[in-house]
């Protein structure tokens, strides 16, 4: 996750540096990286990585529990599977994802900062100085506030697909795949909705 976010920062900086250099607008690389990473890229990339690793593991875990009849056993003992299996996963992910997004913000900006230094000779001090001026905390919050929503979608889809697993091993693979594909789609769709919402609200 750290490496992915770092590379995203690197890529944005590289692509941006080439274009901005033509206009002699080197310093604007800071705005570009700061805002794009915190608002959009870090939340999205983090959610996609988490959908790949946690969403799939949720589906596989619950699917295996279904095959070993653990879920049936829970029901005969009157343990509600939703309370014992779904709710803890949802809550855990809703806490963890915003924190991971914050971490991705830091690493992503760091990646961009290194490239700015290498490509555009923008020193770290200049970069950070400019960052303090242009990066409103609202951009950071907008990115982080998306976290719980993405987490809810990923956990819900992961668990739901897990419960759909039928009594053969093949279906675990099938539903894990479906779960990840669905989760990534929903995350991106949700992000699009957020973009529209924030645009309408003018933030």
């Amino acid at each position: 996750m750290a490496l992915t976010s770092f590379l995203i920062g690197v890529v944005v900086a590289y692509q941006g540096a080439v274009q901005l250099e033509k206009f002699g607008a080197n310093i604007f690389i800071v705005d570009m990286i700061g805002i794009s990473v915190t608002r959009e890229l870090a939340p999205l990339i983090t959610a996609i990585v988490v959908a790949g690793r946690s969403g799939s593991s949720y589906t596989a875990q619950i699917g295996v529990m279904k095959i070993t009849e653990e879920i049936d056993a829970m029901q005969t003992m009157s343990f509600d599977p939703f309370r014992f299996l779904v709710l803890p996963r949802m809550i855990a992910l809703m806490i963890a994802l915003p924190l991971m997004i914050f971490f991705a913000d830091i690493v992503g900006i760091l990646g961009g900062m290194f490239i700015s230094e290498i490509q555009l000779n923008l020193s770290f001090a200049e970069f950070i100085g400019r960052l303090q001026n242009v990066l409103d905390t609202k951009h950071l919050w907008i990115g982080i506030i998306k976290g719980p929503f993405f987490a809810l979608l990923i956990a819900a889809v992961g668990c739901f697909r897990g419960f759909q697993v039928s009594y053969n091993t093949e279906s675990i693979g099938r539903y894990t795949t479906i779960s990840v594909v669905n989760a990534i789609f929903l995350v991106i769709a949700c992000d699009a909705l957020f973009s529209i919402l924030f645009m309408e609200l003018g933030i």
Binding site: T68, E69, E70, D72, A73, Q75, T76, S78
Partner: protein, 128 residues
């Protein structure tokens, strides 16, 4: 005449077009050891699952310990579920828990016993 524990009447189960149980009836009395024989896929497990509320038959009536499990409210279902024990085909231990935790899980969820007392009960059970 001893007490009737499980009473199933005219159970019909179908999976789509497949008719699995065609008006099956059975009565199991207290202390009786009852065996179900049948080929693979003939519906033995399904019949058992219907007894323990994991699967709903298409029609018929099921009584377990005098309770009609097809029309039972949640409170009664919970009471009933605390009275029975089920051993599943593949064991169905909770794989995320240790053996000791598996033994103690009902005590932990349904009683207010302190943790160390549960541990003691569990260790008595294991050593025995």
């Amino acid at each position: 005449m001893s007490k009737i524990v499980v009473d199933m009447k005219d159970i019909v189960t179908r999976f789509g077009e497949n008719l699995v149980h065609d008006h099956v009836s059975l009565t199991i009395t207290e202390g009786e050891i009852y065996g179900l024989l049948g080929g693979s896929g003939s519906g033995k497990s399904t019949l058992l699952k219907e007894m323990i509320m994991l699967h709903r038959p298409y029609s018929g009536s099921i009584q377990v310990l005098g309770k009609d499990v097809l029309n039972i409210n949640m409170k009664e279902a919970e009471e009933l579920k605390k009275k029975w024990g089920v051993l599943f085909q593949s064991g169905a231990l909770f794989s995320s828990l240790t053996v000791a935790e598996n033994i103690g899980v009902t005590l932990k969820e349904y009683t207010d016993l302190p943790g160390d007392l549960i541990d003691t009960i569990v260790s008595v059970k294991i050593k025995w």
